[in-house]
Every structure is written in structure tokens, then in C-alpha cells.
């Protein structure tokens, strides 16, 4: 499991007030976690700050699952 999954899950839990148990790698950001676009932008900003890895809002809808976010972070490091 990527070291970034915990960071991503922690940020999603905090921003969107979702129980950690409900957040998995294959969780769909919109269908399972029902994140709004504003929540997604906030999550991306927080993750960027915590990891110092920039994640652009421009292609926000190309991220379908938690795994997609983790993959971008892994690719950068």
C-alpha cells in the first residue's frame, strides 16, 4: 500500500467529515464518497500542502477514485 494512502484518507476524512472506514483505495470520489467539486478542490489543496506535491484542479474530474489521487502522488515521488 502506498505511503500516500493514509495521508489522502486522513484529508478526505477531515474535509468531508467521512468515517475513515468508508475510505478505500477503490472508493469512487463522487459515487461512493459523494464529494462535491468544492470539497475535491479543498482536498487537493490540503494534500498538496501536506506532501509538497502539486495537484492541479484543472483536471479534477479525471480523478475517479482514491487510487487515482494516490497514483499521481506516487508518480511524483
Amino acid at each position: 500500500m502506498s505511503k500516500y494512502f493514509d495521508i489522502v484518507a486522513e484529508v478526505i476524512e477531515d474535509v468531508a467529515d467521512i468515517s475513515r472506514d468508508e475510505i478505500n483505495m477503490d472508493s469512487s470520489l463522487m459515487d461512493d464518497l459523494e464529494l462535491s467539486s468544492l470539497e475535491l478542490m479543498t482536498i487537493f489543496s490540503d494534500i498538496s500542502r501536506k506532501t509538497s506535491i502539486p495537484i492541479s484542479n484543472k483536471n479534477i474530474l479525471e480523478f475517479e477514485t482514491v487510487a487515482d489521487i494516490v497514483a499521481v502522488l506516487d508518480a511524483h515521488s
Binding site: 474535509v15 467529515d17 462535491s36 468544492l38 479543498t42 489543496s45
Partner: protein, 470 residues
């Protein structure tokens, strides 16, 4: 009318704006703000000549330079056209050409490319050299000119340019303030606010006007993803937010983190209806709540600071605003009413009848005069981010696929749905079509889910597809 420039000049050394960029904090006094506006106006005329009567668009995220360029255009005698940057450059260019736009101010050369005669990177006009002694022209010479033109779907259909004349925009001071500042118009204690409402939205413009008029110190949030971080790292007394932002802040409260809301004492919402349980979160944490209701076409109609018995009301009409119900529809007569839609006589005639603007909202008025929104007459989806989406516009795009026999676009849980009647054998192809269509639509117009109907869609007596309101 009130004179915004006079209000700015009266504040002198008081801090007007704060923002953070690349880790560095910037502060601007009201005196400096005035000089920056004058310099920007000068630079605009160097570039475009006399700008009186011209239409100049701005396509940027919120930033200090936006708040300089907008008054430079308005008080320079031109009309400002704020653009929703979530829309594609192609759509924006079509809209702006119809609005006879001569120039567009963008963030930088890497921004979207617009098919407009003069594309101006904002750094070319917001030079902030302070090396000249520039002044504004006589901006009150023609109060009947268009000062602001925001495009909205109105009650239905394609975006239309709402003509806010100078005399409408500055008819009365705006009310995007906590109740203490409304009840006491002379109150001048410094108020720390944060601007999160996009300036391409009528409410964003009203926030700017309200807070500058009252000498507030406004923190400019430049990236919506940083809203929570901005609240955590600063002190604020008040803000006006979309229901989407209130929901986001509300989750801080649910998690017991009221200390991460900047010490805010009062919050307001506008732009879309808000759920009572979100308001309750703030009230339970000692944060008072106000609500403002209005349209781009009318300016502010009502203000509500009664977060007790009338908390679900949009409030009482503001000052001399007249409100009545015609066949259940809220209609408004106010000095802030727009002059109609630009070059669209038919839509204007449907909007303004016998001097009343028909809002398209269904309402009720209680014995004390408090107004409640009970439904929507117009075919318009209003999302919690304040975005207006015309179902007809999306349906028209769907009908480009001939396999779609009938369709109905609607809102559910703050998302866009499409109900489609088609042959079962075409469903996969239609799903792919919708996926491709979504790529061309701005994020807030994208179809979240397609629901296939086994039969043709329900019709009204007139044979039109029946719209069911949730």
C-alpha cells in the same frame, strides 16, 4: 445614488484588502486602492483609447487585480462584463461577441484564448507603479449607461446579458453585512471579511460594494481550494458564502473545530437556497446568520437577520423595494432593477411587465411581511455553489444525438441528472455520448447520472415534457 469613490477616499489609511500569494502577505490601504484604480484606468485608455460606453470583460479568478480593474472600467465610463471562467473559452467568446465586447482582461498569456479583439493580460493594466497623478473622469455624467453586465440564463434558456445601469448599481448601498451594520448605517467599526463569492456572480459584486462602502478589511481568497486554510490562518468577523461554502465550513463545526473558522461572529448566505440543518450548525456554535435574496436582474430584494422564528424566510424587502405576488410569483419593483437583457427585447418583455420584474420564484408572504420561497416557476436549476443551469440548454446538447428520443434534465441532491427515453439497444452508445459531452461542459453543468426511461416521458396537457420539481 451613492458615490463609491468618495467612500474609498474617505477611508484613507485603513487597510482595505489583504491577500496571500506565493506565501507572501499583501496589504492595501484604501488610499492606495484609489491610486491603483486610477492607474489602471489610465492604462486602459492608453491601450483602448476613450473607453466611455465600451464593453470590457474580465475573465479571472478572484484576486486583488480584479477588484482594481472592475472599478477602473465602471468609473472609467465603460461597462464591465464579468465572465464565468468555468465556461469554455468558445462559449464565452460567443456570449461576449453578442454583447459587443471590445476587450477582455485575463490573468496571463497562459489563460484560455478568447476570440475577442483586445485580449489584455491584467499585469499590463494593473502596473501599480504609483508614478503618475492620474484621475478618473466624470463618472456620474451619464447614470443611464450600462455599468455592469452579467450573463445569466434568466428564467430559462440561453445566457442573456443583464443590463445594470450605473444608476441601478449605485441606487442604494448593498446589504451584504452583519445585522449590526444594517441596523446602524453609521457604524464604522472595522470589520474583517473574506471574499469567497466569485466576482462573476452578482453576489460577489455586491460583497465587494458592501464591504468597500463600509470600510471593511477584506481578505481575498484567490483559490477556492484554500478557503478552509484561509479561515484557519486568519481572523474574520463576517463573510457571505454560497450554501456550498457554508456546508464546507459546517463540516468543521460538525467535527468540533469552530476554532478553525477564524473567530467568525456572523455569516450570511446567498445565491441559492440553503438547508436549515446547515444554518443550525452555525447558530449552535454562537455564529449568527443572515440571508439575502435577490437576482442578477433585480439586485438585492430582501434581507433577513431574524435567525429565530423567521430563520427559513429570505426576509423583509430592503428599504423602498416593493415586492408583490402575481399568480404566486414573486415580483419586484426597485431602483436596483435592471433595464432588461442586452439586445433581447422578447426576453426583456417577459421579464419586466408593467414595471415589475418577474423573478420566476414562487413565494409566500406571512402576516409580518416576511417572504418565503416556496417553489420555482422558471425552468432553472440553482446549485448550492450559486450556479444557474438551464435544463433546456443541456437538453439541446443531448438532442444532438439522434438516438435520444426524449430527455429531461433535472437536479437531484445538488447534481444534474438526465432522464432519457431511447431504444434499449442505444443505451451504451448514449452513455458514451454523454461522457464525451461532459468533457465539453463546465464542471457545474456536467450530467452526473443518466436514468433511462422504459417509456416515453410524461407530458403536460400541452404535450410538452413535464418537468417535475423536487
Amino acid at each position: 445614488m451613492y458615490d463609491l469613490i468618495k467612500e474609498i477616499l474617505a477611508r484613507k489609511e485603513r487597510i482595505g484588502f489583504r491577500y496571500v500569494r506565493d506565501g507572501k502577505e499583501f496589504t492595501v490601504t484604501y488610499e492606495q486602492y484609489y491610486r491603483n484604480i486610477c492607474e489602471c484606468y489610465h492604462n486602459l485608455t492608453e491601450r483602448l483609447g476613450d473607453i466611455s460606453g465600451k464593453h470590457i470583460a474580465i475573465a479571472m479568478n478572484n484576486c486583488y487585480e480584479y477588484l482594481v480593474t472592475m472599478p477602473a472600467i465602471i468609473f472609467g465610463g465603460a461597462a464591465v462584463l464579468p465572465v464565468n471562467i468555468l465556461e469554455s473559452a468558445e462559449t464565452v467568446s460567443i456570449i461576449l461577441k453578442k454583447a459587443d465586447t471590445c476587450a477582455i482582461v485575463i490573468k496571463d498569456e497562459e489563460s484560455e484564448s478568447y476570440d475577442i479583439p483586445n485580449v489584455i493580460p491584467v499585469k499590463d493594466i494593473c502596473t501599480f507603479t504609483d508614478q503618475g497623478d492620474w484621475e478618473l473622469p466624470n463618472y456620474e455624467e451619464n447614470p443611464d449607461r450600462i455599468a455592469l453586465m452579467i450573463h445569466t440564463s434568466g428564467t430559462t434558456g440561453r445566457p442573456k446579458g443583464v443590463m445594470e445601469l450605473y444608476k441601478n448599481l449605485f441606487y442604494r448601498k448593498k446589504h451584504d453585512l452583519p445585522k449590526e451594520y444594517i441596523l446602524d448605517p453609521a457604524k464604522d467599526d472595522p470589520l474583517n471579511t473574506i471574499l469567497t463569492f466569485p466576482l462573476y456572480h452578482q453576489v460577489g459584486v455586491c460583497c465587494w460594494l458592501s464591504w468597500v462602502t463600509r470600510g471593511c478589511t477584506t481578505f481575498i481568497n484567490e483559490n477556492p481550494g484554500d478557503i478552509l486554510n484561509d479561515f484557519k490562518n486568519n481572523k474574520f468577523d463576517f463573510t457571505l458564502a454560497t450554501p456550498a461554502v457554508m456546508k464546507l465550513l459546517g463540516k468543521r463545526l460538525k467535527r468540533g473545530k469552530v476554532d478553525e473558522l477564524g473567530g467568525i461572529k456572523s455569516i450570511g448566505s446567498a445565491g441559492a437556497p440553503i438547508q436549515k440543518d446547515i444554518i443550525d450548525l452555525f447558530l449552535e456554535n454562537g455564529i449568527s446568520y443572515v440571508q439575502i435574496y435577490g437576482l442578477t436582474e433585480t439586485g438585492e430584494i430582501t434581507y433577513n437577520y431574524d435567525d429565530g422564528d423567521h430563520v427559513t424566510s429570505v426576509g423583509l424587502p430592503i428599504e423602498d423595494t416593493k415586492v408583490c405576488l402575481i399568480d404566486g410569483e414573486i415580483c419586484v419593483d426597485s431602483g436596483t432593477n435592471c433595464a432588461g437583457y442586452y439586445k433581447n427585447e422578447q426576453a426583456t418583455d417577459e421579464l419586466i411587465r408593467d414595471g415589475w420584474i418577474h423573478t420566476g420564484d414562487l413565494g409566500a408572504i406571512d402576516d409580518e411581511g416576511y417572504i418565503y420561497i416556496v417553489g420555482r416557476k422558471k425552468n432553472l436549476i440553482i446549485l448550492s455553489g450559486g450556479e444557474n443551469v438551464s435544463p433546456e440548454e443541456i437538453e439541446e446538447s443531448l438532442y444532438a444525438n439522434e438516438a435520444i428520443k426524449e430527455c429531461r434534465v433535472f437536479e437531484q441532491d445538488d447534481k444534474i441528472y438526465a432522464e432519457i427515453f431511447a431504444n434499449e439497444s442505444d443505451q451504451d452508445e448514449i452513455r458514451d455520448f454523454v461522457t464525451e459531452l461532459n468533457k465539453k461542459l463546465p464542471i457545474f453543468k456536467r450530467i452526473y447520472r443518466v436514468v433511462f426511461s422504459e417509456t416515453d416521458l410524461e407530458k403536460t396537457a400541452a404535450g410538452k415534457i413535464r418537468r417535475k420539481y423536487n
